[in-house]
Symmetry: C2
Subunit: 247 residues, 2 copies
Amino acid sequence: MYAYAPSARPVVLDPHGAANTCANCDARPHSVCNAVPDADIARLTAIAVVTHAEPGTTFIQEGDPASHFFNISAGTVRMYKLLPDGRRQITGFSGVGHFLGLAVSDTYAFSAEAIDHVRFCKFSRARVRTLLDDYPAMEKRLLAVASTELVAAQDQMLLLGRKTARERLASFLMLQSRQGVMCQSYRHRFALPMSRGDIADYLGLTIETVSRTLTKLRSDGFIEIPSATEIAIRAPAALESLATGMA
Amino acid sequence: MYAYAPSARPVVLDPHGAANTCANCDARPHSVCNAVPDADIARLTAIAVVTHAEPGTTFIQEGDPASHFFNISAGTVRMYKLLPDGRRQITGFSGVGHFLGLAVSDTYAFSAEAIDHVRFCKFSRARVRTLLDDYPAMEKRLLAVASTELVAAQDQMLLLGRKTARERLASFLMLQSRQGVMCQSYRHRFALPMSRGDIADYLGLTIETVSRTLTKLRSDGFIEIPSATEIAIRAPAALESLATGMA
DNA sequence: CGGTCACTTGATCGTCTTCAATACCAGTGG
DNA sequence: CCACTGGTATTGAAGACGATCAAGTGACCG
């Protein structure tokens, strides 16, 4: 088990780097928001509440009434579910442009915490509903988001149910190398905003196994570990083979 | 590992029990199809291709071009993903009224096989797209389906990542008791259309562990096992506690 | 009846967990 | 500048849960 104390992780993105209107939001190109045409962007701005969350802050609580949708515009978030005795399963990490809060139920199905400094837009569900009626493209976009997440969830089930610790770490690192924050100067090198405990709870392992397996992957020449929060992939093809269970 | 030989399982529902038009389809009340109003039901019938699949037949192949949507109207289906060496993860079981084939990608993200005799409607994706433009309610319905599946997938991640074998079986049995085919005469008694191998690959376990754990749950008084394909729950509340990790 | 196949049960093994100690890193204050 | 502190990460040794290997049981069917 892992102690979930909030801790200062390296800030990867400046949370104050973008203006507070939808028109020049740097997350908009990557998010469902761009289904609203430029001309009507004021309607979006009107109902968006820009919010900041410090590292370790829980801003969605599993079981609470699902009153809002969220759109991440800076930082990284972990979504998770807990068992009564504290066992935790992280269902995913969300970064810039990600949309949270989809649920038919009237309560949230998971909790969400800021890993580093996070900025997000809150939208009242009721107001979004009226927006959806006016912009069918947005509804289509939401369906696309949900479908994509569903595919990712199925991949994760395969990982959790059938892959070895080594394969899980390989899969995780390849995923991060694709969608993580890359280092400008070196390809295949990226930052890990989340802790070993987060990684463990995402992969269904323990901290110790994550640490040991990373060390092993390094000594086997697959990766380098410049610091605890940075990874460089030495052999992308070989690591990908590992990740897909070819080895 | 499990040998995936097609095998004759008890047929739970008569696949020929319903008429071949959407108007009197017994799956329609439970499916996305009822977003199309009665008056226009002919449009739906026009593009629906009713198909049957014998036990063990694969009718969706992971990686194939995603040309159709599917709607199950009789029988039970297993969806799964494979690793190159044959390890299998079943991502879910689908019964009457379930909708399959959601994906943004142009290829299927999973395979689907008939467990017993299955009847389903095939819809060309292209034709459904035009239908969706005319019936926004159907799009909303699809979003609801996707959201529901997403929540289920997150629950399954928690199960696969953090629950013990005993808790997994308890969760599975409670799920089946809710959505499975109930015996008419006895409450808390239901049929299991899937084999032990299917259950194992769904829960991230082996056949042997599934069998042993079921035996243990029986000897502990939680359940009865009238036959290999039938389960009766003796202590629903206690089993539910187990399933949610309270014990 | 004999054969097949799914399921059950038993014995042993291995991967990952648990428990425990140590190393590391950043921040703080002497 | 360096010792001290709190927290994270790494490493080591022992243990457990589920996997694997193997044999036995039972149901269905030709």
